[in-house]
């Protein structure tokens, strides 16, 4: 029982990581209609940049993190201008498949550069054993994840809710064409969305790496669980993505510990199908209505 409980606790932490990636994906999906399948590899690349800054350049961890965050913001903007922006008339499915292609490209580059020695051990960001609650321990890493997730979500929420820039983002997400007609700098806002997405991904990769090691394909199953969390939450709802991801994190962690890895994957898939059947609009989503 204690084992399952602590699996549940670390499941919440993992779910928060899924949720942060999910946050980035939903943000892009709402404002551009594109599901970003490159979110996972973008994150892993950020993790590798951080790792390389430490090992190749000899930077201390904190400096390497700063380098990785800046680099991923630049990369996010570059991806938007090179891969996403050209030929917008090609349609959302075309652009969605472009993100898959981008994902393959980044994966191939990472395999080429770092594949041979993978997986790599990544230094812990926080030391210490964590906090004793009743008769089990909440690991320090989980606490850090929860704190970072809370800080980032809080900041983004406040940004969207109270700042002028945030208002522009929301306008873009609700009515992209109208927003453009009203003179919002759509290109700059979209580029910024991609930058924020890439940075969020890198944050997740750095938080994840100490416990799961770092390999080019690290994020593959993460991306899958994140997408599941998003569908559970209702596709376009930011809090929904977070809630769905935490549910996926807890369910998968508990079943993996209680049964097996296979069972964990199967149970989460079953959960996805059941929600799709019984509640197509997701937990916090709104049923969509077509305009004709």
């Amino acid at each position: 029982m204690g084992l399952l409980l602590s699996a549940g606790i670390s499941g919440i932490a993992v779910g928060l990581l899924y949720g942060m990636i999910g946050f980035a994906i939903v943000m892009l999906y709402k404002s551009t209609g594109v599901a970003n399948f490159a979110q996972g590899t973008l994150a892993t690349l950020g993790g590798f940049v951080c790792w390389a800054s430490m090992t190749d350049l000899g930077l201390p961890l904190w400096a390497a993190i700063v380098v990785a965050l800046v680099a991923s913001a630049v990369l996010g903007v570059a991806v938007y201008f090179v891969v996403i922006r050209p030929r917008p008339s090609a349609g959302n499915l075309n652009i969605t498949v472009r993100t898959l292609g981008l994902s393959l490209l980044l994966l191939a580059v990472m395999e080429w550069r770092w594949g041979a020695g993978a997986p790599y051990r990544f230094p812990a960001i926080v030391e210490g054993t964590g906090v004793q609650v009743a008769d089990f321990v909440v690991p320090a890493q989980s606490l850090l994840i929860a704190a970072v997730a809370a800080a980032i979500m809080g900041t983004l929420w406040a940004l969207f809710r109270y700042s002028n820039v945030g208002l522009s983002f929301r306008a873009m997400a609700e009515q992209p064409d109208t927003a453009r007609l009203l003179g919002l700098p759509a290109t700059r806002l979209s580029a910024a969305t991609w930058a924020i997405s890439a940075v969020l991904g890198t944050v997740v990769a750095i938080l994840l790496a100490p416990s799961s090691f770092l390999a080019p394909s690290t994020m593959e199953s993460y991306l899958l669980f994140t997408f599941t969390g998003i569908v559970l939450g209702g596709l376009t709802s930011l809090p929904g993505a977070l809630l769905g991801s935490v549910i996926v994190g807890v369910v998968s962690n508990v079943t993996i510990v209680a049964l097996s890895l296979e069972a964990g994957v199967l149970v989460v898939f079953a959960l996805l199908l059941v929600v799709m059947l019984l509640r197509p609009q997701g937990l916090l989503g709104r049923p969509e209505s077509v305009r004709l």
Partner: protein, 622 residues
């Protein structure tokens, strides 16, 4: 619209591509490695063709195609190894099992649009690899160690004989797929791709059509899996992962989505370039991903589309070629028409049942429609006499289109009831409402832009003369009779709305707006329509076109005793054709009666025509 146009009638070039590749492979002395890669490429081409039916023709998506290849391959091999079944029976059962699994997964995912389907199929692919790798079924599927596939009787795995078998299966698949795409089922695919809601209101069972498309896609994957398993002789789970699903997607993107020959070209390039020429190194993976991105961004129509475009340009610049092309095209056009034109007056069955007079065609009682907190319609009552023309007018945002959408079942009322010819439509699906005789047109003509005009009209008959997958796969041999009826009815409906004969072979997108509206009208008339809902048929038309349309509407109204409910802003047009009208404002009925009576009321004139008498006077007082 989602991933570009689909091409019509590609049987000849597609079979040519498959045939040339097969014959070249058989005739040329290929080195064993290349021949082995070629057979693999032809097998993957079958999976890619299946995926293209789902993506390029139906507008859906699957990121789990490799998993269905795996299921076909593993199931067939397991039936042979564990149960000792003979090859043919094992293949039939293996492909059948894949089809059943596809239907089960399909019944869930077809409820969703791209995001949901992509997630579920991607996840399904991951689940399949996990299960095949895991220990639970390792006695049957070999787990991570893989499964050795026994040789196919009398066929050396990488030999010419195997290549010939693979090539023949590929050609059969190409023929069946081309026939399917040009059939009534194929036309329904295209309409679902264009707009699901419009397809439903035209009587198409959208989920069923998506299921058929998904199952077909997966069955072809299973066939590919059987052929692939025979040539590699050894199955291992990691060869069927998400990466391979993306590879199959890349085949149709590079080759050209929305065609049948394109994915074959794509499969050759995607399989042979990295596997044989670049020997599967890191460079190969980078080059492959880069090539995919270049195609997606710069050449979204793929190799097939590119060659098609060059051929068209070449045909236009070289006079001799263009004459030849015209000849072959006209031959196709007449071949498609199948037999002599039937007499233009061929009436649909409806005539025999008599026209609608007496009783009420539509009763709307206390209708309320909400979108979240916004109340779009409130306490709306409308009565429409059978056989009458009833106009709905009101300012923009008054709820006119919402009323139409609710009547044809696209929106659900939160209160009130709607009865059509006496029976309630509560809980009735849009395509069932179409079955009761409700047909409609949309503000912007909702036709399939990349189908020709006649094919668009045939879609209106999907309720009455539905395609059946099995006969549609066999082509004109099996569907000739049905196609002739469809053709004559479609031509009759186009006569009724006045589309010139020479415009009927054109792609619908190349018609002008008034013609597109008429084609949509013809699609409504062609079936068993009794209540016609027209949403702004006059918007964007010139005065002459409007008069001609009024003439046509009066004609069809008189000839077929239809009931017409029409939304329009043009008073002249309404006075011209309407027997009664209802005025909506802010989602409420503010007036109803004959056009002359209603339009004579000062308050109606104020809301409807913007003549603000009273408020202006008040404003001056302040």
């Amino acid at each position: 619209m989602i991933i570009g146009d689909a091409k019509n009638r590609t049987l000849v070039p597609s079979v040519a591509i498959a045939g040339v590749v097969t014959v070249a492979g058989l005739a040329l002395p290929l080195d064993p490695a290349l021949q082995y890669t070629l057979i693999g490429a032809l097998a993957w081409a079958i999976a890619a063709i299946g995926l293209d039916v789902l993506v390029g023709f139906t507008g859906q998506v699957s990121f789990g195609q490799a998993a269905f290849v795996a299921i076909g391959a593993y199931a067939t091999s397991a039936f042979r190894l564990s149960m000792g079944l003979p090859l043919v029976l094992a293949v039939v059962l293996g492909v059948g099992v894949t089809g059943v699994i596809a239907l089960a997964l399909g019944s869930v995912v077809v409820r969703y649009r791209i995001f949901g389907i992509a997630t579920a199929t991607l996840f399904f692919g991951y689940v399949v690899v996990t299960v095949l790798t895991g220990d639970t079924f390792s006695t049957v599927f070999g787990g991570a160690n893989g499964l050795a596939v026994p040789e196919f009787a009398g066929l050396e795995a990488g030999g010419k004989g195997y290549l010939a078998v693979t090539g023949v299966v590929l050609i059969l698949v190409v023929v069946a797929t081309c026939l399917l795409n040009d059939s009534q089922t194929g036309r329904a695919f295209r309409m679902v791709k264009t707009n699901e809601a419009v397809a439903a209101s035209a009587g198409i069972r959208v989920r069923q059509v998506k299921m058929i498309s998904f199952a077909y896609c997966c069955v072809l994957a299973a066939i590919a899996g059987v052929l692939y398993s025979g040539v590699v002789g050894y199955l291992s789970p990691e060869g069927f992962g998400i990466k391979q699903s993306v590879n199959i997607f890349a085949m149709l993107v590079v080759g050209g989505a929305g065609t049948v020959g394109g994915p074959i070209l794509g499969a050759l390039l995607v399989t042979i370039l990295p596997g044989y020429l670049l020997r599967d190194g890191h460079v190969s993976a980078v080059v492959f991903a880069a090539v995919l991105l270049v195609f997606l961004i710069l050449l979204p129509e793929g190799i097939y589309g590119l060659v098609h475009r060059w051929a068209t340009v070449l045909g236009r610049t070289v006079p001799g070629l263009s004459a030849a092309a015209l000849r072959s095209r006209s031959r196709w056009a007449t071949a498609g028409r199948a037999g002599p034109r039937p007499p233009a007056e061929t009436p649909p069955d409806r005539r025999s049942s008599g026209s609608d007079t007496g009783g009420l065609a539509l009763e709307v009682d206390g209708l309320q429609v909400r979108f979240g907190d916004f109340v779009a319609l409130s306490q709306v009552d409308v009565r429409i006499e059978s056989g009458s023309v009833h106009a709905i007018v009101g300012p923009n945002g008054a709820g006119k289109t919402t009323l139409l959408n609710t009547v044809c079942g696209l929106y659900l009322p939160s209160q009130g009831d709607i009865r059509i010819f006496g029976s309630s439509i509560r809980g009735v699906k849009p395509h069932r409402i179409r079955d009761r005789g409700v047909v409609r047109t949309f503000q912007t003509p909702a036709i399939v832009p990349d189908l020709d005009v006649v094919a668009n009209v045939k879609l209106g008959l999907d309720t009455d003369l539905k395609g059946s997958l099995w006969t549609d796969l066999l082509g004109p041999l099996a569907t000739g009779g049905r196609e002739r009826v469809l053709e004559s009815r479609a031509q009759w409906a186009l006569d009724a709305v006045g589309i010139a004969a020479r415009r009927r072979g054109m792609l619908a997108r190349n018609l002008d707006l008034s013609e597109q509206k008429r084609v949509e009208l013809a699609r409504g008339l062609v079936g068993q329509g009794r209540l016609l809902l027209l949403d702004e048929p006059t918007a964007g038309l010139s005065a002459d076109e409007m008069q001609a349309l009024a003439q046509t509407l009066r004609q069809v109204h008189r000839d077929f005793g239809l009931t017409i409910m029409v939304v329009s802003h043009h008073i002249g047009f309404i006075r011209d054709i309407a027997d009664a009208m209802t005025v909506l404002d802010y989602g409420r009925v503010v007036g109803t009666g004959t056009p002359d009576d209603v339009l004579a009321r000062a308050d109606i004139a104020a809301t409807f025509m913007g003549v603000e008498t009273a408020p202006l006077a008040e404003a001056e007082d302040l």
